[in-house]
């Protein structure tokens, strides 16, 4: 019985070391993020005001506002979501529930995974060629939204498939055994069960997409826009573009404006992420299995 009381000092030390590393790995990025956000906030604080949010860009840095960029980002977000979500969720449902397992399906799967990893500037080049030039959309809001939707699509497909896969097969079989058509079972049983997962995945991908700068610059989104987008064909700018533009100006006043713009963009993203979390918690309270 004396073995019960012996302590393997080495194992304990290893255990402690691993814990320390794990905690460090968690805390370090969080600290960096806080530092970044805090620093930006301090830099841009003097410009953060209602006037900044509702103002138009100006040659004088202390008067430059962010409204067209904010409106552009909002419009892009809505249009992108309206295009990417139905198609992406639909594709996920097809792949997960209907596609016969086989070489072609595997090929499609692998490609979607690869597409999610393609650098966003490539999507910008594609958008430039296809939407701006071939389809003659010009450098318009709709061209930007189409490009971002393409970028978002693989992420939406993957997140939705992940969510669909969390629903055990027995619930599908239960629906079919009651005499449900395949699609009815999916719509009435499977989708309600994985809705929180799909929503979370979609919102998180969307939050990433609205921060994208490279594809919009490649498309040729304007950097100086003193009007609000009025139609799908309007020229537009977006928050990341505006920020990029301000940071590349020599005057210090624009750098302050850029910092304030970054705070606005980060706040939007944090809000989106918070929405995802709240939605998931609310829906999951109703849905436990």
């Amino acid at each position: 019985m004396s073995r019960l009381y012996t302590v393997d000092a080495q194992a304990v030390a290893a255990e402690r070391a691993f814990r320390a590393i794990a905690i460090l790995a968690l805390v370090l990025p969080l600290c960096l993020l806080a530092l970044l956000f805090g620093g930006t906030l301090i830099d841009g604080f003097s410009r953060l005001s209602f006037d900044f949010l509702s103002g138009f860009p100006s040659r004088r840095p202390e008067e430059a506002g962010i409204l067209p960029a904010l409106a552009g980002t909002m419009a892009l977000m809505l249009l992108t979501a309206a295009m990417a979500i139905p198609v992406g969720v639909g594709a996920a449902i097809y792949l997960e529930e209907y596609a016969p397992p086989g070489k072609i399906t595997t090929l499609i799967e692998v490609n979607i995974r690869n597409l999610a990893g393609v650098p966003s500037i490539i999507y910008g080049l594609l958008g430039l060629e296809v939407f701006v030039r071939s389809l003659q959309m010009d450098r318009s809001l709709i061209a930007g939204a189409c490009t971002l939707a393409l970028l978002l699509l693989p992420m939406v497909v993957m997140a939705s498939r992940e969510a669909l896969r969390t629903v055990p097969r027995m619930y599908r079989e239960a629906a079919w055994a009651l005499g449900a058509e395949k699609w009815t079972g999916i719509r009435r049983v499977v989708l309600p069960m994985c809705l929180p997962g799909i929503l979370t995945g979609v919102i998180l991908s969307l939050a990433r997409a609205i921060g994208e700068t490279a594809p919009l610059i490649t498309l040729g989104a304007l950097t100086y826009v003193s009007f609000l987008p009025t139609s799908l064909k309007s020229a537009f700018t977006a928050l990341p573009i505006q920020i990029f533009n301000w940071t590349s100006r020599p005057q210090a006043g624009f750098h302050v404006a850029a910092a304030a713009g970054i705070v606005v963009l980060l706040t939007m993203m944090l809000l989106l992420n918070a929405t995802a979390i709240v939605l998931r918690m609310r829906l999951q309270k109703k849905v436990t299995w």
């Binding site: 016969p100 397992p101 027995m170 619930y171 079989e173 239960a174 629906a175 079919w176 055994a177 009651l178 005499g179 449900a180 058509e181 009815t184 079972g185 009435r188 049983v189 309600p192 069960m193 109703k286 849905v287 436990t288 299995w289």
Partner: protein
């Protein structure tokens, strides 16, 4: 002998290229309980899933042969398997009430999934829950989630859900294997009650259960039907040596 409700003739079933059922011939008597017994992997689940054409929803699975329900072959190409499943209900091994639905919605799920509504929904809910011997326990909280019930209650809810469709035949694949003895006794009592109105096929690993609930018992072994006879005969004086060995616990 009661006229059979279902007649299985030369039924074969495969998963991909491996055969799971070889040439099964079996009559299922009307308003009686037919028990299916046999060692694990002998094809019991596959067999009952062929009776409502659920076997073929598994990728690469297929079946061949005839299964007559009231004289009509359910494997006839003109038969719509989706419609058939409303007449041949099924209860699974693991209780699986729909997690997003309340108790009431679970009972009505079959109709909802068909896109129809009952004329008297509350009446149907009460009748089905009463038939499943669950009414008294849940009458006060029909809007609670179905998954908030205990395992045994969930299984009876699944039975109520199947009964609400007013099936002709009820298939049960080890309906008690996830339940404790008390819940099991309740479900067994229920089966004896349901037997007056429904034709029941039940898969079980529990020899006592087969003897308590079944009128006839079929013994399967490695994808073949070895023997089908009155339950008393199967357990008292079986014709086949393998049946005797299995029911006395010498293998399996």
């Amino acid at each position: 002998m009661v006229e059979p409700r279902m007649k299985v003739q030369g039924l074969k079933a495969w998963f991909g290229s491996s055969i799971a059922l070889r040439d099964i011939d079996l009559d299922i008597a009307d308003k009686q309980v037919t028990a299916i017994i046999g060692p694990s992997g002998c094809g019991k689940s596959t067999f009952v899933r062929c009776l409502n054409r659920m076997h073929e929803v598994t990728p690469n699975a297929r079946a061949e042969g005839k299964v007559l329900l009231d004289g009509k072959d359910i494997y006839d190409p003109a038969v719509n398997p989706v419609a058939l499943r409303r007449y041949v209900g099924m209860v699974f091994q693991k209780p699986n009430p729909f997690p997003t639905m309340s108790i009431r919605e679970n009972v009505l799920a079959g109709l909802t999934l068909l896109g129809t509504r009952a004329k008297d929904e509350s009446g149907l809910v009460e009748r089905s829950l009463r038939q499943a011997a669950l009414w008294e326990e849940v009458r006060g909280g029909l809007d609670r989630p179905g998954v908030s019930l205990s395992g045994g209650q969930q299984q009876r809810l699944c039975i109520a859900r199947a009964l609400a469709m007013e099936p002709e035949v009820l298939l049960m694949d080890e309906p008690c294997s996830a339940l404790d003895p008390i819940a099991t006794a309740k479900v067994e009592e229920l089966i004896l009650e349901l037997r007056r109105r429904y034709t029941i096929v039940i898969v079980t690993h529990n020899m006592q259960q087969a003897q308590r609930v079944a009128d006839t018992t079929a013994f399967f072994y490695m994808g073949s039907l070895v023997e089908h006879a009155a339950t008393t005969k199967i357990f008292g004086n079986p014709t086949e040596r393998r049946t005797a060995d299995y029911v006395s616990g010498r293998f399996g």
